[in-house]
């Protein structure tokens, strides 16, 4: 089960994830990010406060945008992840490529 919510704060598009991201629903996440890119978003913040689990397919979604974001100069940040989910990002090494912040305010401040 994954619920997505899109909000806007200043110039940042905030995508809140609630539930689990796995192979069955990673497409939804992919479509949501693609939507934001097409609407000309410059800064995307993934709010992962309620994200319980992310599988490798879910990580694959973030990974697939790294190059495109770098080219188009779009910033991607993640905030509020539980320690367990942060660990998943850390093991894969994605924390080195996507800035991960403890909470949203801190993420937006930087």
């Amino acid at each position: 089960m994954l619920r997505l919510e899109k909000t806007k704060e200043d110039l940042h598009d905030i995508l809140s994830l609630d539930g689990e991201v796995d192979a069955s629903n990673s497409v939804i996440l992919d479509e949501a990010i693609q939507d934001l890119v097409q609407n000309g978003s410059r800064s995307i913040l993934i709010d992962g406060r309620n994200l319980e689990y992310i599988s490798s397919a879910g990580l694959g979604v973030f990974m697939s945008y790294l190059e495109e974001f770098q080219e188009k100069d779009i910033t991607l940040k993640i905030s509020g992840l539980s320690p367990k989910v942060v660990e998943v990002f850390r093991i894969l090494g994605l924390d080195k490529l996507i800035p991960i912040y403890p909470d949203k305010t801190e993420a937006l401040a930087k």
């Binding site: 796995d22 192979a23 990673s26 694959g60 697939s64 790294l66 367990k84 894969l92 090494g93 080195k96």
Partner: protein, 689 residues
């Protein structure tokens, strides 16, 4: 009419009947001889009566037996059998009559012996006709019998039996007791004559034929009866055989049932087409529901459907529109040419569009239209809905206005629903067959993939090794291998493609190819990862990545050099310290950064190893396996299990880990990801031996 019986009972009864009849004839002839010569023959009437009863019984059994054998005959043949016997008996009687008429007043014409002989022939043939026809009637009466009818028939048979012996009681007088018995038997006959359930099953043509046959039976019965009456007035017959309650009752019974059948058949004639129609509909319905065999195509189902709808509605023309790719393709044109169809389709286009929009697909009722067309005045459009989708529509047209009544629409709706179900079943069945084929293909893929994993792991005596891998689906994305570079240098590698299933399996095969070729270059672990990343970046699809772990073991220097590319950290148990750690150094997964920047994201680390040290490599399928409560197996369970059993062999440790994992997930729990495990235990002192 007399058929040669095949079985002994038939032959026996036939022979007996013949003998009894001859005896009867003989007795009467003797009696006449005595009378002419004024001698008392001394033969009492009772003997004749007994012989007569015997004759009845023999004929009864002969025909019961004969009918038993021809049970499967249809109604018409049975009625014909009765009629033919009747004609035969009447014919003979008529010939005898004519014979006497031609003889006139001659001496021969007055000969009592000859007269008696012919009398007996008439008696025998009439008896045969009566008994055989009565038995035919019995079969017809007991068609679709109820318990009550069977009881009535049994009562009738019993009464007839009593009537046979009645002659002993009333000595052949037409007294009140005779009339009383006759009335009772006639009443039962009339009650039985109400059982005419066989008639509706005749079709129109058969009804006409049966009317003719019944008429013949009635005429024969009436004619033979008048003959009997004539005999009873004649004085020359010493012992009257024909004024018998049994025979007279049979006359009544046969005539009554024949008359009832005749009249009911006659009145059934006009409605027989309706009954036939209903029967055809039932058969069509059956054909539709059976037409789901995989080798038959949908065309055949639709063909039956069209036939059924046409015959149910008496339509003058019809066709079927099949929706395909947003377009209507007309097929199954019936009694219409393309020009007519096109003009009709044009007229109906707008009403059909409105009708389709009016409600949801599943609630669509047939559309009954009045047409403004030079030839056709009314039309009926019936939707074909399969799986919540309109796959087409049947269009029926008639030359009369308001040609489709409620009953027709009802039955056509049922037909189209049944056909839709048949089409749906047909599609599901084919899909199931296709799926089965895919399953077969997957099994082949499974075998191929299993062969990609090593069956034998390269290792020297100085360390023991074992490995295990299991895919969540038929095929998976996990990979492990070992490689001996030289006598003292060994490489262990484990990889995991993101995701699972077929796509992961293809990438796994690519990974194996790349790893196998890079291993031979004798690269340092970090260089290996950099090269692997570069190669994989070119072939992995956009959102896939691979995590890998590599160990370069030098058995001479007792060192291991390790690099990690996003893979779950390996557990390294140090026997000396009785402690273990996860080797968590930085390292980005392969295929995430598909450029030279990757070089900055991978590290390598060299460690010493000693006697009894253990390495446990695994994939995230084990760490992330969940139990019923949604908890993950996690890293710590692996660590504590290894620390609990450091003295066990790699194989034992592997089994403990996998068993514990399965217990944790629960009996029927599924591990939703591929998982693999490789356990290495070092014994560096073996080398010195």
């Amino acid at each position: 009419m007399i058929k040669l019986p095949k079985f002994h009972i038939g032959r026996l009864t036939l022979l007996l009947s013949l003998l009894v009849w001859l005896a009867l004839l003989f007795v009467d002839l003797v009696r006449i001889f005595g009378m002419i010569n004024s001698l008392e023959s001394g033969i009492s009437s009772e003997i004749t009566w007994i012989l007569e009863i015997l004759f009845f019984i023999c004929v009864y059994f002969f025909y019961t037996n004969s009918l038993e054998k021809n049970k499967q005959k249809n109604f018409l043949e049975m009625v014909w059998r009765g009629a033919s016997t009747g004609i035969f008996a009447s014919g003979i009687a008529l010939v005898i009559e004519l014979f006497y008429f031609s003889l006139g007043e001659s001496k021969l014409g007055a000969d009592p012996f000859l007269k008696n002989f012919f009398y007996h022939i008439n008696f025998a043939l009439t008896t045969i006709f009566l008994i055989s026809t009565a038995l035919l009637w019995k079969t017809l009466i007991l068609y679709q019998k109820t318990k009550q009818v069977v009881k009535q028939w049994q009562a009738f048979e019993f009464a007839l039996l009593v009537a046979m012996f009645f002659v002993f009681f009333n000595k052949n007088n037409l007294d009140y007791s005779f009339i009383f018995g006759l009335v009772i038997l006639l009443i039962i006959s009339a009650v039985l004559a109400g059982n005419l359930k066989w008639i509706p099953y005749l079709n129109f043509k058969e009804k006409w034929k049966s009317l003719l046959f019944l008429f013949l039976i009635l005429v024969s019965t009436a004619f033979l009866f008048t003959r009997f009456l004539a005999y009873s007035d004649a004085e020359i017959y010493q012992v009257n055989l024909t004024d018998n309650l049994f025979l007279i009752s049979l006359f009544g019974f046969i005539f009554l049932y024949g008359l009832f059948s005749f009249l009911v058949t006659l009145f059934n004639l006009p409605t027989s087409s309706v009954f036939e129609q209903k029967l055809t509909e039932t058969i069509n319905f059956q054909r539709l529901s059976q037409s789901i065999k995989p080798e038959e195509n949908e065309e055949q189902v639709l063909d039956i459907l069209m036939d059924s709808c046409m015959s149910a509605s008496y339509a003058d023309g019809a066709w079927l529109d099949v929706h395909e790719g947003g377009k209507n393709t007309p097929i199954q044109l019936r009694f219409l040419d393309d020009k007519d169809r096109e003009s009709l389709a044009k007229i109906m286009e707008i009403p059909i569009e409105e009708w389709e929009k009016s409600t949801s697909v599943n609630l669509l009722q047939p559309l009954n239209l009045r047409l403004d067309h030079m030839k056709y005045q009314s039309a009926l459009v019936v939707p074909l809905v399969v799986n919540n989708q309109k796959i087409g529509q049947i269009l029926l047209v008639k030359e009369v206005r308001d040609g489709f009544n409620k009953e027709m629409i009802g039955i056509i709706t049922t037909f189209s629903r049944q056909a839709s179900i048949a089409v749906e079943n047909h599609r599901l069945l084919n899909q199931a067959i296709r799926n089965e084929r895919y399953q077969e293909e997957l099994k082949i893929a499974q075998r191929v993939q299993k062969s990609l994993l090593p069956t034998r792991l390269d290792h020297p005596d100085t360390f023991e090794i074992c490995a295990y891998s299991n895919a969540a689906d038929e095929v998976g994305g996990d990979y492990y291998d070992t490689f001996a570079i030289s006598e003292e240098k060994y490489v262990l590698i484990m990889g995991d493609v993101s995701g699972k299933g077929t796509s992961a399996a293809f990438h796994m095969a690519q990974m194996k190819g790349i790893f196998q070729s890079l291993i031979q270059l004798d690269l340092s672990p970090a260089q290996f990862m950099i090269q692997a990343n570069s190669a994989l970046s070119r072939c992995l699809s956009k959102n896939h990545f691979i995590t890998a772990s590599i160990f370069l073991i030098n058995t001479q220097s007792k060192q291991i050099c390790h690099s990690r590319a996003g893979h779950v950290p390996t557990l390294f148990y140090k026997a000396e310290e009785k402690k273990s750690d996860f080797l968590m150094q930085d390292g980005l997964g392969l295929g995430i950064l598909r450029n030279r920047q990757y070089e900055n994201h991978v590290q390598e680390k060299t460690m010493e190893y000693g006697e009894g040290d253990i390495l446990v490599m695994f994939t995230d399928g084990i760490v992330e396996a969940k139990n019923q409560k949604g908890q993950q197996f996690g890293f710590e369970r692996i660590r504590s299990l290894v620390e609990l059993h450091p003295d066990k062999s790699p194989k034992e440790i592997q089994n403990i880990l996998i068993d514990t994992l399965h217990d944790f997930v629960g009996g029927n729990g599924m591990i939703d990801d591929d998982y693999s495990l490789m356990v290495v235990k070092f014994h560096p002192h073996h080398l010195s031996k």
